[in-house]
């Protein structure tokens, strides 16, 4: 799996935030649109595109998109 593609998939879970605002280093909790529902969309995205089951702790313990990318990668 590749980081740029993952960032794109991550960004696609947001409705209002411009896709160009996302990079591997983006601290996703600081995005205004971030909510408990977006966290569920991220879990669904990992399940749908990578067949990976993210837990609540995986999300809670991550800060950047890169952190989540690494968790997904380790579970592939």
């Amino acid at each position: 799996m590749e980081i740029n593609e993952f960032v794109q998939n991550f960004a696609a879970q947001f409705d209002e935030t411009d896709v160009n605002e996302f990079s591997a280093n983006t601290l996703f909790r600081e995005i205004e649109e971030w909510s408990s529902l977006t966290s569920l969309s991220i879990i669904a995205m990992a399940d749908e595109y990578y067949g990976v089951k993210l837990t609540g702790d995986d999300i809670r313990n991550s800060k950047s998109i890169f952190d989540i990318f690494n968790i997904v990668k380790s579970k592939l």
Binding site: S36, D47, G56
Partner: protein, 351 residues
């Protein structure tokens, strides 16, 4: 793999009872107007039925059972077993099934027992009562399943209180030599026991002064340790993973043609999760009914409540091939295949 085929067992009728009191999500104090709108658009829940202090799960199940027994015209003397499934029983002890045996005026020589399960409870209860009827050569059994789960939620916890409503259900089950029976797939994963939990009040954390102290976790989330805690992310991840897997396992193991199923009945968790599950299974929306809008998540009662509120007219007149799937607290989950032929479905009862 826990696959079970209980031959010669059929469902004769189902009924459901809810409290009269309706609370709209827009009237919940802990949600702002904007939050309430967002909540409804993602969960599909607009209102729920909420019990007052006097109404218990057994009251709801009693009313559902009384109406059903009357409508199917069973002599009470012919009922051999009663199973009550709930996580909001009337007392810690005695078992609520004993109270219901007496209240429904069943014989003394029946088997009455409680099962403590939530979202998967109707499926597990159906499996247990079917196995019991078969192994004991019984003729008839009644399965009472429900919860007053709203009573466990802190009104100041927006992560639980708006989701849940109360309901009690009854299912009448009978031995029938001619009937194809009921097919099950059941699973358990207790490593997720704390994903949905009421921490205090049992015998791990005995009720104490500290049990009623409210703690603020974040804005809109204040609760005490006797309130329900829901780890939404873990439960979501579990649900979208295990529910489709379980249904596919059931279909594959018993070589059931996916297209032959008329209705797929899911535990009504919330629309966002349920729609992910439906799409993963590639099921057309018209085969997947929802009762979330008017009743929310009623824990163990959702599957039968959906049969009554959304499918009653169809079930009364048509032969239906149904798959139901329950998933949640435990963590516990399972799927069931069954056929109904013009079963008895009384109108929704309100008390």
């Amino acid at each position: 793999m826990a696959f079970i085929h209980e031959k010669h067992i059929k469902i004769v009728g189902v009924s459901a009872c809810v409290p009269k009191y309706i609370q709209d999500v827009s009237n919940i104090e802990v949600l702002s107007i904007e939050e309430a709108q967002k909540f409804t658009s993602s969960t599909g829940i607009e209102r729920r039925r909420i019990s007052n202090k006097e109404i218990t799960t057994s009251d709801l199940c009693y009313s559902a059972a009384k109406k059903l027994l009357n409508d199917i015209n069973w002599d009470k003397e012919t009922v051999d077993c009663l199973i009550f499934v709930s996580q909001t029983p009337d007392y810690i002890l005695p078992a609520t099934s004993c109270i219901l045996q007496n209240r429904l005026k069943f014989r003394n020589d029946i088997i009455a027992l409680d099962i403590s399960l939530g979202c998967s409870g109707w499926i597990y209860g159906l499996m247990t009562i079917s196995s019991l009827i078969k192994s004991a050569n019984f003729k008839r059994g009644i399965l009472l399943v429900g919860d007053t789960i709203s009573k466990t939620c802190s009104e100041n916890d927006k992560s639980t209180f708006p989701l849940f409503g109360d309901a009690g259900t009854a299912t009448a089950i009978e031995f029938d030599e001619e009937h194809v029976g009921i097919k099950f797939h059941l699973e358990t994963d207790g490593s997720g026991f704390d994903s949905i939990i009421i921490p205090d009040g049992g015998y791990r954390n005995i009720f104490s002064d500290k049990s009623v102290i409210n703690v603020n976790f974040e804005t809109g989330i204040t609760r005490s340790p006797v309130n329900l805690v829901l780890d939404g992310m873990n439960v979501f991840s579990f649900g979208i993973n295990k529910a489709p897997q379980s249904i596919n396992s059931l279909l594959n193991y018993f070589k059931i043609d996916k297209e032959s199923i008329d209705i797929y009945l899911f535990h009504q968790a919330n629309l966002f999760m349920n729609e992910k599950i439906r799409k993963k299974l590639n099921l057309p929306i018209e085969k997947v009914p929802y009762s979330l809008k008017n009743f929310g998540n009623t824990s163990s009662a959702t599957i039968v409540l959906t049969m009554i509120s959304e499918l009653k007219e169809l079930l009364k007149i048509k032969r239906c091939s149904i798959i139901a799937c329950g998933f949640g607290v435990g963590l516990s989950w399972g799927s069931v295949w069954f056929e109904t032929e013009k079963i008895i479905c009384p109108d929704l009862i309100e008390i």
